[in-house]
């Protein structure tokens, strides 16, 4: 089986591992690095539960090989809270606005919401819905997810203005 050594940065930490060429990024994150926040939902590029941030893009890590991430900067849900446990404004907003029920889609929603707000810090509700259109939730009906992202946008702007 073809294998190679890959080097990348995950949640700010340099990582070097040998992986099989055919290892999917989601399996590398979950099984090799034991970062089990990104979930395997559909495994067919539809649901977005495996979404992570890679080089400034939201990617579905079930549809990418780990070898393609050579040299990449990756951020997963585990890299969102601060070291002292302070939640990221998106995490805090999902809690406050009841943006989850079972929580399975939440890591993907938050990582996608993060990139959306980086690109567009003050989105309309429609822009949030279109921005999250690659992430499925089977519990909430999306109302509170949209509210949570909007709330996070407001909090992040206030925080930015204060800095």
């Amino acid at each position: 089986m073809a294998k190679r050594l890959i080097s990348l940065t995950v949640n700010g930490k340099a990582v070097q591992r040998e992986v099989a060429d055919r290892t999917l990024l989601i399996h590398f994150l979950r099984e090799d690095l034991r970062l089990t926040g990104a979930h395997i939902g559909c495994d067919t590029t539809h649901c977005g539960a495996c979404t992570v941030d890679m080089n400034g893009k939201s990617v579905k890590s079930c549809t990418m090989f780990a070898v393609q991430a050579e040299g990449a900067q990756i951020r997963t849900i585990e890299g969102m809270a601060q070291a002292d446990g302070t939640l990221h404004p998106l995490q805090e907003s999902f809690r406050q606005e009841h943006g989850l029920q079972c929580g399975f889609c939440t890591p993907g929603m938050i990582m996608r919401g993060y990139r959306l707000l980086q690109e567009n810090p003050d989105p309309t509700d429609e822009q949030i819905r279109m921005g999250l259109s690659g992430n499925l939730c089977r519990c909430t009906g999306y109302q509170n997810i949209v509210k949570a992202v909007r709330h996070a946008a407001e909090k992040m702007q206030i925080k930015e203005a204060a800095e």
């Binding site: 090989f65 989105p123 279109m130 259109s133």
Partner: protein
Amino acid sequence: MIPGDFSYHRPDSKAQALDMLRRAGPDGRILAGGHSLIPMMKLRMAAPAQLIDISRIGELKGVAIGGREVEIGAATTQHELIENEQLAAACPIIRETALQIADPQIRYLGTIGGNVGNGDPGNDMPGLMQCLDADYLLESAKGQRSVKARAYYQGAYVTAIADGEMITKIRFALPPKGQGYAYKKLKRKIGDYATAAAAVTLEMAGGVVRRASIALTNVGDTPLYAADAVDRITSTALLPPDIDAAVAAAEAITRPASDGRGSAEYRRRMAGVMVRRALIEAAGRATETADGKDAPKDGKTGGIFGWLKG
């Protein structure tokens, strides 16, 4: 689902990629965004022994807008097409179509070369490229040739490409100022392939259709250029009977499958509806081209573009 075993290669240049592709022969496949190929590999619909990743080769990316022609590197992502303001100004139907493909995550990685190249009848760019009468530049270690989008597709996943070749560029004529356009796609949900879709461009002069182009997506094994439908509206004032005739001519060339998106008859009719809506929208967006008036009409740049930037 984990794909079968393969060897991964990441060449640094186009020349190196073509050389690897030549050596791999029928076992080689190009990997760019991977958002068609990897799902196919998971399902064992594709099992290449050698995967050649071209996604980091700069010379295969980018958009060049010349005085007469638009040239797009095959490894340019849908996201890069959408974000490109010069392209949106020069040929807005590209952004309109790209925004209707899949979802944001997929558009970050999926490329135009992959979308036009693999021959999946559900893909949206092939129909658009037939509408724009684009050429695909196919290169191999031995040389290059150009194939028209209207001649590239032979069946579902069967195309004119040969072993050792890859699409490196997509080229089409710069649309004239004032050209009306629309890509209308009926889909069950975001991320779905089209139940039916239609791409239309239209040039008006003196209240008459001077030139038009119509192509259909996902209502046959290949995208379909609707030549008869174009004939029905050319040199007409695009009155309701002209539109009816074009819709009927477009429906007549469809060969949709009955599937989860609807019966063949329903999808045929929806192809007609998409053609009708695209014609009306394109006509509303078209400005007279004969006398040099090319200012866009007010309120015609909203819609799907509205949510792109805050």
